[in-house]
Amino acid sequence: MRWFDLSESDRTQTRELSRIADDVSERIIEAFYAHLLSDQTAARHFRGADHIARVKQGQSRYFRELISADVDDSYIADRRRIGSIHERTGVTPTLYIGSYAYYLNKLALEVQQQMPEAPEKAFTLILSLFKIAHFDMALALETYVDAREETIKARERELSELPTPVLQLRPGLLLIPVVGTLDSYRARTLTVQLLEGIKEHRARAVVLDITGVAAVDSAVANHLIQSMAAARLMGAHSVLTGLSAEVAQSLVKVGVTGEALNTAGDLQRGIQLAENLLKG
């Protein structure tokens, strides 16, 4: 709130409007909805006259709060709630801010007309209104962003919980294609799946193919080394395939040595190598 320079004096200013609020709000809201419904994209958000009447009622409460409510936690919570409704129903930020701008303009004009004898006072009042309106918009947009962040995080969780398939190529030989991002959570899951796969299939050799891993750095290499070491303890040799030339070079420069990782040039050779390990 400090960022918006909102103070008690702004509140005192805008409360001046309370006297004329009901009269003014009705006119503005009528004009506002006429404007909204004239736009096809905006009109899509309304289902019939009942719905419009209800939203208009909400709008008039919103208006009263805009000029006179205490800007406290419950105010903020309410504005955020409105933001989340907008986000869920697909009201775009453009539509939201555009509507607010129209609304604010109408309101400013009203204020100016209502106070012809005190233009300076009208001006400071309008400034105070602008501050509060921007604060409102910021809250609503924060809610939009938060909601999207939540969606992204949920997707990331879903992705990282995607099971890694453990394929049996022939008795004793497993192929595990690793795809996506190997963060520490997924790396742990990979290790568990690898070890369970070894146990279940009584595998003695495993080919780990990382062609589909988005980024290989020392942290990912570390995860792989640990998984392969754990596999070794379970009695299975593992072969790593799918390292591109560039990745191999960077890993060596970073200091990951080839000894810790049993690698093969491509999948085919990896499988051959694993078969040799099975025989040997």
């Binding site: 990331e156 991002t181 963060d183 980024a215 942290a219 290499a221 960077s250 970073v254 990951v256």
Partner: protein, 139 residues
């Protein structure tokens, strides 16, 4: 050896693993635009990965900035990794191979230093870390 101030720069906030990938891609794209060869592009991407990963693991929040720097006729890609995390108490150890306070290979910082041309690290315990690394384009 102070390089000139960058002409333009791109910033990626680092908050979680997915941001590490975004920062990597941002750096790789810039390296490609600047005409770095594919091996160098991979090195730059790896350096960014290591630095960004450190931010996620040790500081939780920070940013990676990549920019083009010039020095005489040379052109380089500069990576700056900043965070406001706990900082590094012992820089000497942090730059040594195999040293890690987390459960890692301990190659992040020394590894990054090996794959870039200029490397500078500043840290005040309690105030965060700033790593600056430059890879010059071979003429």
């Amino acid at each position: 050896m102070q390089a000139q101030e960058p002409v333009d720069s791109q910033i990626q906030a680092i908050r979680r693993d997915a941001d590490v990938i975004s920062a990597r891609q941002m750096g790789r794209r810039l390296a490609e635009d600047m005409g770095f060869g594919r091996p160098d592009q991979a090195l730059i991407a790896t350096a960014i990965s290591e630095l960004a990963r450190n931010i996620v693991v040790y500081a939780g929040y920070g940013e990676i900035e990549v920019s083009v720097v010039r020095q005489g006729h040379r052109q380089g890609l500069r990576i700056v990794a900043r965070d406001r995390g706990p900082g590094i108490a012992d820089l000497g150890s942090a730059l040594a191979d195999g040293y890690s306070t987390g459960n890692s290979l301990g190659l992040g910082l020394p590894g990054t230093r090996r794959i870039v041309d200029d490397f500078d690290i500043r840290s005040t315990p309690g105030e965060g870390v700033e790593v600056t690394a430059v890879k010059w384009r071979r003429q």
